[in-house]
Amino acid sequence: MVAVAALVYVIVGTAGTDRGRPLPTLSPETLSNRLTQDRPPLVLDTRGRTAYLTGTIPGALDAGTDPAGYLPDSRGGEVVLIIEPGTDPAPWMNRLLGFGYRVEVLAGGLSAWRAAGLPVVDPQSSFARPGSRPFVIPRGLCEMNTPADRFY
């Protein structure tokens, strides 16, 4: 199933590219493995806000749908794009290559990721609260709860 989805994506998804070289893709399983490494790739979701909030790969950023409106830092490294099937990834790739990134596209998009049984999350669950000041200072926590020797 995943292989079929990936093949369809490569055929359909690369039809619009004009770079004259094969689209670098990686499978959901490969991406999943890389995400557990010390320096995981940055995953950019380019499907738009609604799709992003419906569910995405854990840790993925909502990059928007307009490559020209996305300004990355120049730390470089590897980026993996989640592209809506049928969308030409070339503008995103050109944009990110210009900032020194190595860019790959998730083969089969999020559908293939789901089909592989890999986790999809509500990204808002990973959102930290901005501007969360002032903070109550944690002090004396041990004294206010169950002593450690009766914790279990």
């Binding site: 557990t36 010390d38 320096r39 995981p40 940055l42 854990p58 840790g59 950023l61 909502d62 990059a63 928007g64 307009d66 409106g69 996305y70 300004l71 990355p72 830092d73 120049s74 730390r75 210009g98 900032f99 999350v121 990204p123 990973s126 959102f127 930290a128 609260r129 901005p130 501007g131 969360s132 000041r133 002032p134 903070f135 109550v136 200072i137 944690p138 002090r139 004396g140 926590l141 041990c142 004294e143 206010m144 709860n145 169950t146 002593p147 450690a148 020797d149 914790f151």
Partner: protein, 302 residues
């Protein structure tokens, strides 16, 4: 009763058999050995452990002050100095059953204190086994290249320990119908939540917007740590292991921000960012120049 001792089971049968078959290893030897300080035979190990923070768990200035403020409750000492003294001693982890001491199970033995109230270090470690790749506490909390039976435990207090532990990614997203949004991703490779350890520690994210003269004209902060909710309730807002944490901040286009700077700090001292903390460590930092040709971005932290 010492709960650590209670958890130690009987000797394995093979050891009992060896004892029967080796009467020459006189009971006198055993008795003598059990009555002597550990350092008599294990001097190097005892010396190594004595230099660690664990061996001084009840001797630190912050602990002493807070402990006395609370009326010096004994419950604190269950972890900070179970046998009295300045901190942990050999028997606090190894028990008092005598030789041969049973092999300790990691991370269970660590969890006794590192999952105590005010900590969730081992619980968070167990949450995401796929990220650990077979590692356990000792892979990171012993000096690199040492043996797993070593006792020179290290943590954030040791210079260099936090190097490369966390990484910040920064981007700006402009949409045709939206105000610019600052996108921040924080990832870390601690096997547990960051920060681990006790409640006073926290990771602080500081996002600054600078004008053309590098003067701050906009600022947002976020704190990752334990947070008090009401009198007796606490919320664990540490950065979980595994998937990165995300922030999206609206950047008011009317501000004169021409450059963004993001810093991630590890702080030991309770309190806000203005509270002095000479031990604070910069985990990572990066920046983004919004006005360079072609929106060129910059990076200023290795």
């Amino acid at each position: 009763m010492n709960p650590l001792v209670d958890r130690i089971g009987p000797l394995p049968p093979i050891l009992g058999l060896l004892a029967v078959l080796s009467p020459g290893v006189a009971a006198l030897d055993m008795t003598d050995r059990e009555s002597r300080p550990c350092a008599d035979c294990h001097a190097a190990i005892v010396q190594t452990f004595a230099a660690t923070r664990m061996a001084q768990g009840a001797a630190g200035e912050v602990f002493r002050r807070e402990w006395m403020e609370q009326g010096s409750p004994e419950s604190c000492l269950v972890c900070h100095a179970p046998s009295g003294g300045a901190g942990l001693s050999c028997n606090d982890c190894h028990g008092r059953a005598g030789h041969p001491y049973p092999r300790l199970q990691v991370p269970d033995i660590c969890a006794r204190c590192h999952d105590a109230p005010g900590e969730s270090t081992v619980r968070r470690f167990r949450e995401r086994p796929e990220t650990l790749q077979g590692k356990d506490c000792l892979d990171c909390h012993l000096p690199p290249g040492g043996i797993r039976a070593g006792h020179g435990f290290i943590g954030p207090s040791v210079p260099g320990f936090l190097d490369g532990v966390a990484r910040v990614r920064l981007a700006l997203r402009r949409g045709p119908n939206d105000d610019p949004r600052v996108l921040i991703q924080i990832s870390h490779r601690a096997g547990h939540a960051l920060p681990g350890g006790t409640t006073g520690r926290a990771v602080w994210l500081v996002v600054s917007g600078l004008d053309t003269e590098d003067r701050p004209v906009w600022r947002e902060t976020a704190r990752f740590g334990w947070e008090r909710q009401g009198r007796d309730h606490w919320q664990d807002r540490t950065l979980p292991p595994g998937s990165p944490g995300l922030l999206e901040l609206a950047l008011d286009p009317r501000t004169a921000v021409t450059r963004l700077r993001v810093e991630l700090w590890y702080r030991f001292a309770p309190g806000d960012l203005e509270t002095p903390d000479p031990r604070a460590r910069l985990l990572d930092a990066t920046g983004l120049d919004l006005c360079r040709p072609r929106f060129q971005s910059i990076s200023d932290h290795p």
